[in-house]
Each structure stands twice: as structure tokens, then as C-alpha cells.
């Protein structure tokens, strides 16, 4: 007898409603990855996350789990407070490049430095989306934004910050990986990284972060297909994909 199985379905943790994201935006994919990982690990009823300020400030409308919405950049501090009250629960932050790498630099560095047992999902699209396309700390040299109309110059605006490399120098950061969501293969790798980051937290090993290179066609002034190509051609050479820190390597 042949049994029909529905092999692909909406994750339990993903609320069935249309998102507010622009066509070709990476957030929807990353939300789905998060929801699938939460389902697969069976942690929906003991996980809590924190939304950032920026395009994904409304992530709590899409994930069916307990959620905070933090002040701009403060999600690592908020989730530190949560985790210190409920050490048996699982905590994540979801933060963009302005949130994590500009206004919240101190909070992410010190949460990592303390080895806070939380997981940060860091969405790097090299631009400020919500406010309409201004320069981010991760904006590339020569990249045009509404506040670098002649292209980012190092003399005027300094250099883009490589957060994964920076944080991987800290003892408390035990799992750091940079992934991208520009192709089906990379989406699958991104999901494996997010899963591993949560497992590291659940094993009580310390701070984990997955940096996700993500397209922003709207503010890059590109078509969605041009934007995924931009991720590969322009972002990846400056922000190489890979695992920067693993607990296994630390044991050696």
C-alpha cells in the first residue's frame, strides 16, 4: 500500500500570515530557518527570542513563541536578563547590522565576552533597510547608500566591520559561523549553522552567533536576482563564509 506523506509543510512555529518584507528580502527565509530549527529541536515551548529595531522589529508577528522586542541594539542585554532568570530555557536574539554592529556593539561584544548562553542571529545586508537605505557599519567601500551618495569612502566613513572575525577572538564566544541565503545550497548550510548554534547553547557551552549575509534588493536598488548575485560577487569576498569558532576547536 502506498502512503501519501506531506513532506514539505509550514513549520509549526511559523505563524501563517503574509510578511511585510519587500520582494527578494532575505528575512523571510531566515525566519523560516529559525522556525524549522525550533520545531526540529522541539524547543518551541521553552524558547524566547528578542526582536531588534529595524525591518525585523515585527518578527514577533511571525514566530509563534515567546518574544521580547528590545530597544535598538539591546537585545543581547535583554536576553541576558531573561537567561539569568531562566537558565533552563533557550534564548535567541535576531538582529540586523545597525542593531548589532553599530548601536548595540557594546552589548553584543560583552554578551559574547561573558559567554552568555544565548544565540544571536545576525542578519548582515550591508545597509539600513527600515529607515530607507542609509549606510550601515557593514556597508562596503564604494557602496552607494542614501548617506554615502558618492559611495562609502574610508576617509569619511571608515571601514566595514567584520563582526564574526571580531567576536571569534573572545573566549566566551564558542560557536561563530558566517553563512548566506543567496542560493538553495547556502540556505541549507545556513539552517545547519543555526541548528548547531542552538545546540551549542543547549549544551551549555557558551555564546553562539550565526551571521547571515542577506539580500536587500529594495535598498540596494536592484532586482531580486541582481541582489543574490551581489551577495556572492561583492559581499562574500569581503565577508567570507565559514566557521570561525567551534567548541570542538577550542578543546584542542
Amino acid at each position: 500500500m502506498m502512503v501519501m506523506v506531506k513532506a514539505f509543510q509550514r513549520p509549526r512555529t511559523l505563524i501563517p500570515r503574509p510578511t511585510h518584507y519587500c520582494p527578494g528580502c532575505g528575512h523571510g527565509i531566515i525566519h523560516r530557518i529559525l522556525a524549522e530549527v525550533i520545531d526540529e529541536l522541539g524547543i518551541r515551548e521553552r524558547v524566547a527570542g528578542s526582536a531588534p529595531v529595524g525591518c525585523s522589529a515585527l518578527i514577533h508577528q511571525y514566530l509563534d513563541c515567546d518574544m521580547y522586542e528590545a530597544a535598538h541594539g539591546r537585545a543581547p542585554a535583554v536576553m541576558t536578563g531573561f537567561k539569568r532568570v531562566h537558565p533552563d530555557k533557550i534564548a535567541f536574539t535576531y538582529q540586523g547590522d545597525g542593531d548589532l554592529a553599530a548601536i548595540g556593539t557594546a552589548e553584543i561584544v560583552h554578551a559574547a565576552g561573558r559567554g552568555e548562553k544565548i544565540t544571536a542571529i545576525f542578519v548582515n545586508n550591508a545597509i539600513y533597510g527600515m529607515t530607507g537605505g542609509q549606510m550601515a557599519p557593514t556597508t562596503l567601500i564604494c557602496q552607494r547608500t542614501t548617506t554615502t551618495p558618492y559611495g562609502r569612502s574610508p576617509e569619511a566613513a571608515g571601514y566595514p566591520i567584520r563582526v564574526s572575525e571580531l567576536l571569534s577572538t573572545l573566549e566566551g564566544a564558542v560557536y561563530i559561523e558566517r553563512v548566506a541565503v543567496n542560493s538553495p545550497g547556502n540556505v541549507l548550510k545556513a539552517k545547519r549553522a543555526v541548528r548547531r548554534a542552538f545546540e551549542v547553547q543547549m549544551e551549555g557551552l557558551g555564546f553562539s552567533m550565526v551571521e547571515v549575509l542577506s539580500p536587500c534588493p529594495q535598498n540596494w536598488r536592484m532586482s531580486p536576482s541582481e541582489a543574490v548575485k551581489f551577495v556572492e560577487d561583492k559581499l562574500m569576498p569581503y565577508y567570507p563564509l565559514g566557521v570561525f569558532k567551534t567548541p570542538e576547536a577550542m578543546e584542542r
Binding site: 518574544m67 522586542e69 531573561f82
Partner: protein, 355 residues
């Protein structure tokens, strides 16, 4: 700290820390700053003994957001700081008020503005009672005048915070924090507190909880503001606290809060020996401000407001009195403390008809 019923000799800072522990606070997040560092120091010793959490944050900005996370998680939680550090916390305090998260914030005021000094001051009255952060919100603000009262109000603060789902500030000054007095820890009568069914604990067996302060729709945001306003009206109706001292037969009323009221009492004793009948009205809650009690005590008498600033609470005193009495002011600032001799001199000047 063993016997809760015995008098012990403690500084105001230590008394606040121990009172918080005895009120069930098991989470402290803070950052050292003079003149309140004895609170984090005390907590760093006591919290591990009690199975609690002491965490020294990287900044006051982070500390108040850790408080946000822990309060949102349903814990009794506090932080403490002094003026410049409290300024850094204002963003988080606005979010706490908007999200209606209960917590205790202690401000042991020092002289400002800017980095200012490390000596006692009362110059954050406006910041504490009129907002401080952005948006239309209120803190409940309690102003102790003795070490004993610092302990009592700390315990009360946690109950008020839970009852109204609102941040509460204990507003002291470097004097209250640093001086030593005997103190006895007395738990207030067990208050009936609402369940924290809104807390973030993992959505097990219930719909998810979301703690959010973003309302892009103005009608929703107006509704939140109105709901907060009604809550603050309840607080105003129920929680005004004031001490009236020797006011019945008084010809002149001094209005002062915190440590200045202590100094004023000495001045009143000396003035009464000299035959000048002076009374004191001391607001204990600065928000809600006891306008009616101030008004009643002052009646149509001359009023002297004494503060360690250049005139902040005086605006509320004037609001209470509504032009019926002459309101005079004497202030020292920048870390200077008014002496009882100075207050006596001011009262004598007013009594003698000086303007």
C-alpha cells in the same frame, strides 16, 4: 544578615541592598558609580549566598536592559546607580514603563549637570518625577529621609511595582547612601499581587506572550497611553504618602524631601525654642506628589521650600498651593548641603518680613 527583627548598623546603601534581598529580589544588574557602589558590592556578596544573580554589566545602558529582560521574565529585579548613570538608563526606563514591567531603580543622586561631582544632591527631581526618558510615562518615586525609611521604602517599592506593573524609583542622595544608622528589616504586610501571567517563560501550555512597545498604528498607541494614564490616576488616588511635622500651630511651613527634611527638623526645633512656630511638610512619594497635603498644611501661611538644587520640587509645591501663599526658596547645589543654621536664618528673614 541573620536576625531580621534586630537592629543592625548599616549605611543607607547597604540597607537598601539587604531590604531588596529580604523582599525577594534575586536578580541585580548594575554598574559601579559613586556614591552608590556599596549596593552592587553588597549584592555581589549576598546574591551568591541566596542563590541569586549579581551581574556587573558593561554599562548602565546594558544594566537597565538586563533589568528589562529579567523583569519581563517575571523576576523581582533591581538596579542602582547615581545621576550620570541614571541618565544613561533613561532609554530603558521609558521602555520599561511602556511595556509595564515591574522593577526597582535606585538613584543615589550626586551633583550635576554633566559628570558633576560625587557629593550629595537632589537635582534629579525633575528627571525622576516628570519623565526623564521620551514619551508620556511616570515612575512611582519614593524619597527616603532616613536609613530605616530607605529599607522600608525599598521593600514597599517591589510590591508597588508588581501591583501597578510599573517601574519604581527610590530617590535618595549621596548622604542617605553613605550615612550609617540603626535599621530593622520589617516586611510590609503581604500584599495581594496580580499574577505575572504576561511573563516570558516559554509558551508552554498557553498562547505565546509578547512584550512589545512598538505601536505603528496611532490609535493603538493612543489607547496604550490612555490605559497608562488611568493607571497613573489610580496611583495618584491610592499611593500619596507624606509626613507632616509640627504643622498644626505653625506660622511658617518648610517643604523639603529626603535628607533636607532631616536638617529642617533640627532648624524647626531651634526656631521653636526662639518662639517661631515652624512646621514641616515632607513628601515621601514624589510621584504621586501629595498636592492636597501640601496645600492643607500650607493653608495661607508663608512657605519655605528647601532643596539641594536650584528649585525643582518648588514647582509642585506651587501647583499644590495655587497662589494662596507666598512660596520662598532656599537651595544649595553642586554637592553643597544646606546647614540648619542657614535654614534658621532663612526662616527668620521670612518671619521678620524680609522678601
Amino acid at each position: 544578615m541573620k536576625a531580621a527583627e534586630e537592629n543592625v548598623l548599616l549605611t543607607g546603601n547597604e540597607a537598601i541592598a539587604e531590604a531588596a534581598i529580604q523582599a525577594g529580589c534575586r536578580h541585580f544588574f548594575g554598574y559601579p558609580i559613586t556614591p552608590q557602589s556599596e549596593i552592587p558590592e553588597y549584592m555581589s556578596r549576598r546574591m551568591p549566598e541566596m542563590g541569586g544573580v549579581y551581574l556587573q554589566a558593561e554599562s548602565e545602558v546594558a544594566a537597565i536592559n538586563m533589568v528589562f529582560g529579567a523583569a519581563g521574565a517575571g523576576a523581582r529585579v533591581m538596579t542602582s546607580s547615581s545621576s550620570p548613570g541614571i541618565s544613561l538608563m533613561q532609554e530603558g526606563i521609558s521602555y520599561l514603563a511602556a511595556a509595564e514591567l515591574p522593577c526597582l531603580i535606585v538613584n543615589m543622586m550626586r551633583g550635576g549637570p554633566g559628570l558633576g561631582g560625587i557629593q550629595p544632591s537632589q537635582s534629579d527631581y525633575f528627571q525622576a518625577t516628570k519623565g526623564g526618558g521620551h514619551g508620556d510615562y511616570r515612575l512611582i518615586v519614593l524619597a527616603p529621609s532616613t536609613v530605616q525609611e530607605a529599607a522600608d521604602l525599598t521593600m514597599l517599592a517591589f510590591d508597588l511595582a508588581d501591583m501597578y506593573r510599573n517601574p519604581v524609583m527610590v530617590l535618595g542622595d549621596g548622604y542617605i547612601g553613605q550615612m550609617m544608622e540603626p535599621v530593622r528589616f520589617k516586611r510590609p504586610e503581604a500584599a495581594e499581587l496580580p499574577p505575572k501571567d504576561w511573563a516570558i517563560t516559554g509558551a508552554k501550555g498557553r498562547p505565546r506572550n509578547v512584550i512589545s512597545t512598538l505601536s505603528l498604528d496611532p490609535e493603538t498607541l493612543e489607547a496604550l497611553n490612555l490605559r497608562l494614564h488611568h493607571k497613573y490616576e489610580d496611583v495618584i488616588r491610592n499611593e500619596r504618602r507624606v509626613e507632616i511635622f509640627e504643622a498644626d500651630d505653625a506660622d511658617i511651613i518648610i517643604a523639603a524631601f529626603g535628607i533636607v527634611a532631616r536638617i529642617a527638623k533640627t532648624a524647626i526645633r531651634i526656631l521653636r525654642e526662639k518662639g517661631i512656630k515652624v512646621g514641616l511638610v515632607r513628601p515621601i512619594t514624589l510621584f504621586p506628589f501629595p498636592y492636597d497635603a501640601v496645600s492643607k498644611a500650607a493653608d495661607d501661611l508663608n512657605v519655605l521650600v528647601v532643596e539641594m538644587n536650584m528649585g525643582q520640587m518648588i514647582e509642585d509645591v506651587k501647583l499644590g498651593i495655587r497662589g494662596r501663599s507666598e512660596v520662598h526658596f532656599y537651595g544649595r547645589t553642586g554637592g553643597m548641603v544646606p546647614s540648619y543654621e542657614e535654614i534658621v536664618r532663612e526662616v527668620e528673614r521670612i518671619h521678620g518680613g524680609g522678601g
